[in-house]
């Protein structure tokens, strides 16, 4: 790991003044579990890390005016332990519970989950975000692509978005607040995640001089997340589904079904949401929505199995709601 400067501000204003206009001039250090790994591997080099763990205004989880406010500095464990989240936002609790291990959840933050870099082994191996070989051709389509995208890779980004909370936040219509020295802005969760078109682009809307400060999640939707992975613990999801339903009596007024770990961004399965609209949840309507969710999938040479996993994840997330478990 290259040497770097360290700053430990206690106010957001001080922290923002310490950031730069280019990535690598200065970076945010929250839980640090991702950026330190990247820097140890020298996949990423930063001249300065700005610790934001001691900034009180970035912490806390609370309900106000019908919306949940999650401070970006809240740890994933704090999210899981929060009674209001477990009751009204089981989708977020389930997504957070799936993250790696207690040790990671104890220090890893909500903002960090959104801003972590892809786990694609070509990227982590130093082949760049879009993983191109010496001849400029992408390495993934004919390479080891077991864990790569089955949707949304037409633009050349074959990695999958590593965020566990992202799909749940997109399904719940959350807004993500960003601050820079020149002001604040609010981005819909669905627009926070972007598929980069070049190696120097990023996977989120965050700019180098910005910090994710808080996440606002509207209440009132039934919601659930289901994750499929290989190991019981310390593993990344193979596919997840997060669903959020606006109910009208026993029928679904509107639905959002979002797949995780199948595309370079959380993947909104619009057809699945439409399939549920106006219907009540039954085994057959759930199965139809699950089928619709994976329509149009474009699996690579080694990851066709993920189509079925994503289908099952949708089915099980919806079933949790139908059975009153979420």
């Amino acid at each position: 790991m290259h040497a770097f400067e360290y700053a430990n501000p206690t106010t957001l204003k001080d922290a923002l003044a310490l950031l730069g206009n280019r990535w690598g001039d200065a970076d945010v250090l929250a839980g640090g579990t991702d950026i330190l790994s990247l820097m140890k591997d020298e996949v990423y080099v930063s001249k300065r890390l700005v610790n934001i763990k001691n900034i009180k205004e970035l912490g806390g989880i609370s309900m106000s005016r019908g919306a949940l406010r999650i401070g970006a500095g809240a740890t994933l464990e704090q999210l899981i332990e929060n009674a209001e989240i477990r009751k009204s936002f089981p989708s977020l609790a389930a997504a957070a519970r799936g993250v790696a291990s207690p040790q990671i959840r104890n220090i890893g933050t909500v903002g960090g989950d959104l801003c972590q870099r892809p786990r694609c082994w070509y990227y982590r191996g130093g082949n760049g975000l879009l993983a191109k070989g010496a001849n400029g051709r992408p390495l993934v389509p004919n390479g080891e692509n077991k864990y790569h995208a089955i949707f949304g890779h037409e633009g050349g980004a074959y990695f999958v978005s590593p965020s566990s909370l992202g799909p749940a936040l997109v399904a719940l219509d959350a807004k993500i607040k960003l601050a820079s020295a020149s002001g604040t802005r609010e981005v819909e969760a669905a627009k926070f995640f972007v598929a980069p078109a070049s190696d120097t682009a990023r996977e989120t809307a965050l700019l180098p001089n910005e910090i994710v400060t808080e996440i606002l999640v509207p209440a009132g939707m039934r919601n659930a997340t289901y994750e499929v992975r290989e190991k019981q613990a310390l593993d990344w999801p193979l596919a997840t589904a997060s669903v959020a339903l606006q109910m009208k009596g026993n029928s679904v007024a509107s639905a959002k079904v979002v797949l995780g770990h199948v595309a370079p961004t959380p993947w909104l399965a619009a057809a699945a949401g439409q399939a549920l609209s106006g219907k009540s949840l039954s085994d057959s309507t759930i199965a139809e929505a699950a089928d619709a969710a994976v329509q149009g999938a474009k699996p690579l040479s080694q990851n066709k199995y993920k189509v079925q996993l994503a289908r099952v994840a949708v089915k099980r997330a919806l079933t949790e709601i139908a059975r009153g478990r979420a």
């Binding site: 770097f4 430990n8 310490l18 140890k40 291990s101 990671i104 220090i107």
Partner: protein
């Protein structure tokens, strides 16, 4: 590992011998050496406002096992490397160094954390507990005893991390109902010898003792 009775060492002492050589040759415990290597007389307080420190070595202090250790380290040094290389607390092990194996697990402010995945400089003001800080050879912590009784280790390299993860888990979940509960609580630690059967039993056993108040 080391004695917990740490002799006071004059703060100006400079490291004149290698860490290992010192231990082997003189046979003194952790504290003497840690102090010798890291004694920086007047550690300047860190972190005022937007001040930037580094990239060179910076003096700061860490609170480990109830004692304050003054160190002078570059910001890039992880807590794990500070413990092992500067403070001679070698219980926490360096295996993957990427937060995926658990061998470096320590307890920070009551929570299990991978020491390899946090910066030492970032842990100022936190209460850090390592395997050296729980129990003594004469009076081991109940989790340590239970690991011995249930043969919950083989090569032993993962064991300090497992013990710390188990302690942190039991401190927050004193009543695990089943082996499945224990598995969820210890999901962040790997044992390549495959001693999981013993670990599950040890943690359930230790839970009884911890509930009885034996929890140093």
């Amino acid at each position: 590992m080391s004695s917990r009775k740490e002799p006071e060492v004059p703060k100006k002492t400079k490291p004149a011998v290698s860490r290992r050589g010192f231990i082997q040759g003189v046979g003194l415990g952790t504290g003497a050496l840690g102090g010798a290597l890291t004694g920086t007389a007047e550690a300047a307080p860190q972190s005022a406002g937007g001040a930037v420190s580094g990239p060179g070595a910076v003096p700061f202090s860490l609170r480990i096992n109830g004692k304050t250790h003054n160190v002078t380290l570059e910001p890039r040094v992880t807590l794990l490397d500070a413990l092992r290389d500067s403070l001679d607390l070698t219980g926490a092990k360096r295996v993957c160094d990427r937060g995926t194996c658990g061998a470096c697990t320590v307890i920070v402010d009551g929570r299990a954390v991978y020491a390899c995945s946090v910066l030492a400089i970032d842990m100022q003001g936190r209460q850090i507990q390592t395997i050296e800080g729980i129990g003594t050879p004469d009076k081991p912590h109940p989790v340590t005893s239970a690991f011995v009784e249930h043969d919950a280790q083989q090569c032993g390299y993962c064991t300090p991390g497992f013990v710390m993860a188990a302690k942190a888990y039991l401190d927050r979940n004193p009543n695990p109902r089943s082996e499945a509960d224990v598995e969820a609580g210890l999901g962040g630690n790997l044992c390549r010898c495959g001693t999981y059967v013993g670990v599950r039993k040890a943690v359930l056993d230790a839970a009884r003792d911890v509930r009885r108040g034996r929890n140093a």
